[in-house]
C-alpha cells in the first residue's frame, strides 16, 4: 500500500470550487457563458456568436439532429457531437427542429455544421474549466 511522502502534497488535482463546476456546466448549456461567468465578456461573446452562429446556420440548412440511443456507431457519434451544443440541442429536441426530411442538397452541410458547433463548444467548455482552475488567464 502506497504511503504519502512527507512534505509532498498532491498538487496535480485542482481544488473543487463552485466556479470549477459552474463554469463548464453553464458553458455547455449556453456557449460562452462559462467565460462570461468569469468576467471574460469579449471572449464569451465571441464564443457565443461563433458556436451559436454555426449551429443556427446548420439548422437553417436543414441539418439533421441526431437522436439519443442511435442504432449504429455513426448515429451515436453524431449524437455526441450534437449534444455539445447544450441548450440549443435541448431546445431543438423540445421544439422538433432538425427532424424533418431534408429537401435541399446542402442539408448534409447543415448536419456537419451542427456537429462541429457541438464539438467546438466542448473545446470552449474545457477552456472555461482551465480558466476556473487558474491554468489559463
Amino acid at each position: 500500500m502506497a504511503t504519502p511522502i512527507a512534505g509532498k502534497t498532491n498538487s496535480a488535482t485542482p481544488p473543487l470550487t463552485l466556479m470549477t463546476v459552474m463554469a463548464p456546466a453553464l458553458g455547455w448549456l449556453i456557449p460562452g457563458a462559462g467565460h462570461m461567468l468569469q468576467k471574460r465578456w469579449i471572449r464569451g461573446g465571441l464564443l457565443l456568436a461563433s458556436i451559436l452562429g454555426m449551429a443556427v446556420l446548420g439548422l437553417l440548412l436543414q441539418g439533421r439532429i441526431y437522436q439519443p440511443f442511435g442504432s449504429d456507431l455513426l448515429e451515436i457519434l453524431g449524437f455526441v457531437g450534437d449534444v455539445g451544443t447544450g441548450g440549443l440541442y435541448l431546445l431543438a429536441q423540445a421544439v422538433g427542429w432538425g427532424q424533418a426530411a431534408p429537401f435541399t442538397a446542402t442539408a448534409d452541410y447543415g448536419k456537419i455544421f451542427i456537429i462541429a458547433a457541438g464539438l467546438l463548444n466542448f473545446i470552449a467548455v474545457a477552456d472555461a474549466y482551465h480558466i476556473a482552475i487558474g491554468k489559463k488567464s
Binding site: 464564443l47 432538425g98 429537401f103 435541399t104 462541429a116 467546438l120 477552456d127
Partner: protein, 62 residues
C-alpha cells in the same frame, strides 16, 4: 426552422472556417495578440486548404 437556406460549397467553407477559427484562437492561446494571430492563421489555413483542394480536384478531373 422551416426557412430553407442554400449555401455554395465555398460560402459554407468560409463560414465554417470563420467560426472555427474564432473558437480555436480564443481557446488555444493566452494573450489577446496570440489569439488574434492564431485565429487568422487557422482561417488562412482552412481557406487555403479549400482552395488548394479545389484546384487538385480540378486537375484530377481533367
Amino acid at each position: 426552422m422551416t426557412l430553407p437556406l442554400q449555401l455554395s460549397h465555398f460560402s459554407a467553407a468560409f463560414f465554417f472556417a470563420l467560426f472555427a477559427s474564432v473558437v480555436f484562437g480564443i481557446t488555444h492561446c493566452d494573450t489577446t495578440r496570440d489569439m488574434v494571430r492564431y485565429g487568422i492563421k487557422c482561417f488562412v489555413t482552412f481557406m487555403g486548404g479549400v482552395i488548394i483542394a479545389g484546384w487538385v480536384m480540378w486537375l484530377l478531373r481533367r
